[in-house]
């Protein structure tokens, strides 16, 4: 966890074009810094006094437009299946959540995960018994592991297989960015085959 980056509120009464140009440059450069920081996890930003309502933007995954990304743990080595010590990992997944509301109506933003479906068998022996690997076999490490000012961003944890597992809760006017590294816990030997399932992350505020 690092200290938040708090950009100054943009003056709204500036009229000179040169002043607007400089201001645009400063704001744009600040935005670039935020975007480029892979480790940035919790950022407060100026709340718009004239925002007509609330908005939430949530992204999970890499830069592939319109597609649900896949965390592929690959194939476990035959002599390591179920040993609990060999825990396949996958490339880090970016989770980016930004929530805004009017300054007079700060809201509590909650990020939840629905992992109730598990990873169902899609091919192989496991089709016979219809095996489903519960998502509780999947855990993750986050690049942020401490709460910030009482607001909890996403901590190291595991899916619990529920339909609404709370992962983070914070006040609107903030943005959290995480690189999550998922790993398969590999504590059970399941029937041979390929398994796949989807976790759905939902951000909401009242």
């Amino acid at each position: 966890m690092r200290a938040p980056n708090l950009p100054p509120l943009a003056p709204r009464l500036a009229t000179a074009s040169a002043q607007r140009g400089w201001r645009m440059l400063v704001v744009t450069f600040t935005a670039l810094c935020l975007v480029s920081e892979a480790g940035a996890v919790f950022t407060a930003f100026a709340t718009d006094l004239v925002l007509p309502g609330h908005d939430i933007t949530l992204r999970v995954g890499t830069n592939t437009p319109g597609a649900v990304d896949t965390v592929n743990f690959g194939t476990i080595a035959g002599d390591k299946v179920g040993d609990g010590a060999t825990q396949p990992t996958a490339a880090a997944v970016r989770l980016d959540l930004r929530a805004r509301s009017t300054i007079a109506t700060y809201r509590t933003v909650t990020l939840t995960a629905d992992s109730s479906a598990g990873m169902a068998c899609i091919s192989g022996t496991c089709l016979g018994p219809g095996t489903v690997i519960p998502f509780s076999q999947v855990s993750w490490t986050s690049n942020a592991t401490a709460p910030f000012l009482g607001n909890f961003d996403v901590q190291n944890s595991s899916f619990n297989g529920s339909s609404a597992q709370t992962l983070a809760s914070f006040t609107s006017g903030s943005r959290i960015q995480h690189d999550l590294i998922f790993k398969y816990n590999n504590t059970t030997v399941y029937p041979a085959g390929s398994y796949s399932g989807k976790v759905r992350f939902t951000a909401s505020m009242p």
């Binding site: 040169a18 140009g21 400089w22 645009m24 440059l25 744009t28 670039l32 975007v35 309502g53 609330h54 908005d55 939430i56 933007t57 949530l58 992204r59 999970v60 995954g61 830069n63 592939t64 437009p65 597609a67 649900v68 990304d69 896949t70 965390v71 592929n72 690959g74 194939t75 476990i76 080595a77 035959g78 299946v81 997944v93 980016d96 929530a99 509301s101 109506t105 990873m119 192989g124 022996t125 496991c126 016979g128 018994p129 030997v189 399941y190 029937p191 041979a192 085959g193 390929s194 398994y195 796949s196 399932g197 989807k198 759905r200 992350f201 939902t202 951000a203 909401s204 505020m205 009242p206």
Partner: protein, 206 residues
């Protein structure tokens, strides 16, 4: 200076747009004040579990176990109890009236066996290299151990190795014993030391 500033601002703004335009699954929710707001995004997780077959015959490890069967004789005098024998060594006094041929008997060797698989259609077959006797000369039985009875390849009661077992159950431990006894043809045959090797193979996932 002013032109350079605008150019720089435009470049930075363009870069920011490039960074921010393409996401994985990216969703946004916008609602007026007073209306709950949410956005959700999915993430697929996938893993492959390989085919695993395991077979143990005899002691664990790389050493090939030996099932030793000894043929012993006993002489029976009708009406006498106990029956004398087996006889070992030279010039042993026996109560044999000469009216009944001695009985030759093979000892039984018990070999622990175990099998497990996470694949469908896993079966066990065997092949033999026998010197001076045939597979049919060895009587094979199966005996209960700590787990399910592991069937012996066909023929199920000798070492003819004419076919495979029925498919083993998936993710089920078989832990029992094979018993080996020399049959009457071998027991009543010429004296000597006979040796041979039977190789068991488990095959699955086909």
């Amino acid at each position: 200076m002013k032109l350079q500033l605008k150019t720089l601002s435009l470049a930075l703004a363009s870069s920011a747009l490039l960074v921010g335009t393409a996401w994985g699954e990216s969703r946004m929710g916008v609602q007026p004040i007073g209306t709950p707001t949410n956005a959700s995004a999915g993430l697929n997780l996938a893993i492959n579990v390989p085919n695993i077959v395991m077979l143990k015959v005899g002691a664990a490890g790389a050493t090939v176990s030996t099932a030793t069967m000894n043929v012993t004789s006993s002489a029976v005098s009708p009406g006498l109890s106990p029956v004398y024998g087996p006889f070992v060594g030279n010039n042993t006094v026996v109560d044999w009236d000469g009216t009944t041929a001695p009985t030759l008997t093979s000892s039984t060797s018990t070999i622990p066996v175990a099998a497990w698989t996470n694949t469908s259609n896993a079966v066990i077959t065997c092949t033999t290299v026998l010197i001076g006797f045939a597979g049919a000369d060895i009587v094979v039985g199966t005996a209960t151990g700590s787990g399910l009875l592991l069937p012996h390849p066909l023929g199920a009661t000798n070492l003819t190795c004419g076919g495979a077992t029925a498919a083993l159950n998936v993710n089920t431990l078989y832990n029992s014993n094979y018993t080996y006894t020399a049959g009457s043809t071998l027991v009543g045959g010429a004296p000597g030391a006979y040796t041979g090797t039977v190789t068991y193979t488990i095959t699955g996932g086909v």
